[in-house]
Symmetry: C2
Amino acid sequence: MTGAEALLQTALDAGVDTCFANPGTTEMDVVAALDTTNGARTVLGLFEGVVTGMADGYARMTGRPAMTLLHLGVGLGNGIANIHNARRAQSAMINLVGDHPAEHLPYNSALTSDIETMAAPVSDWVRTSASTDAIAADMAEAIAVATGPPGRIATLITPADVMRDPCATGPAALPSISPTPVDEAAVKRCVEALRGDGPVALLMSGQGLYKEGLIAAHRVADVTGCRVLSECSPGRIDRGAGVPPVERIPYFPEMVIEKLKGFRTIILVGTLPPMSLFKYKEYPSSVVPEGCEVIELASVDVNPVPYLEALAEALGAAADAGARTELKVASKPSGALTTKTCGQAIAATLPENAIIADESLTSGGPAYYLTQTCAPHTSMYLTGGGIGWGFPTATGAAVACPDQPVLALQGDGGGMYTPQALWTQAREGLNVTNLVFSNRKYQILNVELARAGINKPGPMATSLTDLTNPSIDWVGLAKSLGVPATKPANAEELYDQLQAAYTEPGPHFIEVEL
Amino acid sequence: MTGAEALLQTALDAGVDTCFANPGTTEMDVVAALDTTNGARTVLGLFEGVVTGMADGYARMTGRPAMTLLHLGVGLGNGIANIHNARRAQSAMINLVGDHPAEHLPYNSALTSDIETMAAPVSDWVRTSASTDAIAADMAEAIAVATGPPGRIATLITPADVMRDPCATGPAALPSISPTPVDEAAVKRCVEALRGDGPVALLMSGQGLYKEGLIAAHRVADVTGCRVLSECSPGRIDRGAGVPPVERIPYFPEMVIEKLKGFRTIILVGTLPPMSLFKYKEYPSSVVPEGCEVIELASVDVNPVPYLEALAEALGAAADAGARTELKVASKPSGALTTKTCGQAIAATLPENAIIADESLTSGGPAYYLTQTCAPHTSMYLTGGGIGWGFPTATGAAVACPDQPVLALQGDGGGMYTPQALWTQAREGLNVTNLVFSNRKYQILNVELARAGINKPGPMATSLTDLTNPSIDWVGLAKSLGVPATKPANAEELYDQLQAAYTEPGPHFIEVEL
């Protein structure tokens, strides 16, 4: 058994059986071991940002880590933005990054770089495996760290000789990790706040926004009258008919301050105190209204669901929540393609158990609101602000959940970051419907320029936010990568094309020109 | 004057007048200042790997740094691989990376990351500008560091408030830097070695491979009989008729050892001691033959040309070199498309003063050899091993040299990393001919698998090196991004299509299916 085989067998024994990969020379022994251990599903991405984004989507839908296989510092670098997004979503991920043997590093050959330092800003755990006999235990620790809950980013640097040499130890078992007990003092503080003078908001994120977390939160709301809110861009929300509702707080700071005004207490449930994404001169970083107290039920370092359930019990809540979203499906839209008619077509056609990867940014508001009362589904959002996440994450979610239809709602600016994901969808025959909102601009930057007082951008600013000259032919681009593509002329056609895409197996692409 | 205006005016005053950009919210004041200072050419890339690759190509052709404008840690991450390649080529580059104001960082909003740590592994100089009154001097220092010679990577992190606030100091002048004097002791050691028992090789890189460096090296060769060799993947070689020739040492270690066998002394001229790119079990890291002494004329930290000229003078060499490549143009090829007939078509059509960005890897050998005797031209190579460099670097070279035709020779695997560069070529109307060798595999990995003893790769290994299922329609891909594209059926058609591409202004794309 080689080091690579011991590593992969350790992963397989722990149920980590999916590897998103773009390997190079230093990873050849891992590649060979994927065949000899013969248990992992291996999915090629034609760029590492696709590879890490796929692993993120996989983890969000399964709660389990996938492996990524990356080629030294340059491969890791290409994957960094989507690792950052994954980390902010508390996704479980194990990055295997090849490297030269330690004895080769002093020669400083072309691909040498300080991989540990590069990985540190996007990883919760980084280790360079020191020997073939350590590799199985290193991998077991990486799996334990990554699995959490909540999910974390473990980056294991795997020198080529460590992977190649014979391993005496064989695979390793996972270290036993006791679940963190619920902090009863925190529960007690929250009970007091909820029984005091209102109003109180539960501000939720992480697994608190999965169906079981939302039920527990609404059990609390049923007996206390508190509001159940979500952070603006959480990793995942379970939504739709039969799921208790949750309202995301807005994006811009003045809107958040307005939304939170009047709350006496905000209880944090697996999230940080509310802050502005960017710092604007005229608004503070914190968007907690004046006079509002912020207390923590569960930190971002734990799964908040047991905390919510303990809180519901302490309050003597009923065993189930009263509030459940009622099914209300939008009707087929007609007329010109606008963000509103698009949202209506999306909501009117969304299948039950769909998964939405939403990087629609400025174009997605109506779709977000209109899908709230669809059949039950799951939405994933851009947590870390690094665009180019939508196509890859949708791809990884489809690998994770072959029986669930996946819908990528993608702005055109971010879509151009990682179009290579479409090729993987075609190769793997994944049931992904990719909808690009083609407004041919970085519209969010026009909004930000206006907020900065630049209402008439000059020619340079205009050229940096404009995506025409030439306009991108998205239908041609998708077809060139093996994905059938269409371009509706109006909202009726969009409705019909969405329905057809969900009906036919394999990936589809729809360009919506706004 | 804002901080951003002071920064940009400092750049313009120093002749740094080109900005490759993909900005976001934290960079809006720099974007606005590009208009108000109104002197920089601004070029949008639809992905940061394109942005940094363009800056690399620009620097290789001008010797001057361009600015890149990147959006926080995620934008820097996307650009890392091509910064790594640029650093290994000693390209001058100034990365401006936006960040939150310092007061906002403790809130840990979604896009917060440790940018300094992320930048360190690919930068020679990193600084976060601490105040608006420091920004102009910081930029002046960044320009001085980046300019060298040799070129270096300076990364200046520019918090949004520092860019936005009024600047009392105005622009800053560059610190005066005295050129490093030639190390006379090193010259003397090399004179002794060259006058001792032979044979001696000059192993060259950096500016030593520009025409003036090659002339100086051949002046030395004319009086001593030494051989003039280049490292395997240098940043740039001036080549063709009228330029003294230089031979690149091979890629695989056993071939280098064979090539260098018999040399008594290797003199390093702006390069590291020869090493294997990867460490193979059966070969050492160092590929210096046994018994061969390695001495250094000029380190990688200096421009080696004055050293070579001092060496030639010390040896009493004639004022000019005798050896010059004679023009010998390949004839029009015929028959099937192979790497050989492609190489012939490329050599037969290459215009005078062309610039080649060569990321052809396993497909480019014949083109490399057959272009040696073409009209004078410049070739750039993949120095850092991070694929996805060819299209962007060709694009940046065309921005730098609008009067010189640019040819990108691109393998299909690497081409899929950064196809977005084609869109910038279309927008800017750049004279780039993009030739993709479409062999529909990561062929280098098949070679490496075979070297590792895996002659019959299993299904996983095969799936990770194979680019079919689906095959990429490169013609459709290029057209979707606004670049006219063709696909020759045979070598004659390739010849005709190359000639047409050089004749018509603007970018062209040719898919060669091998």
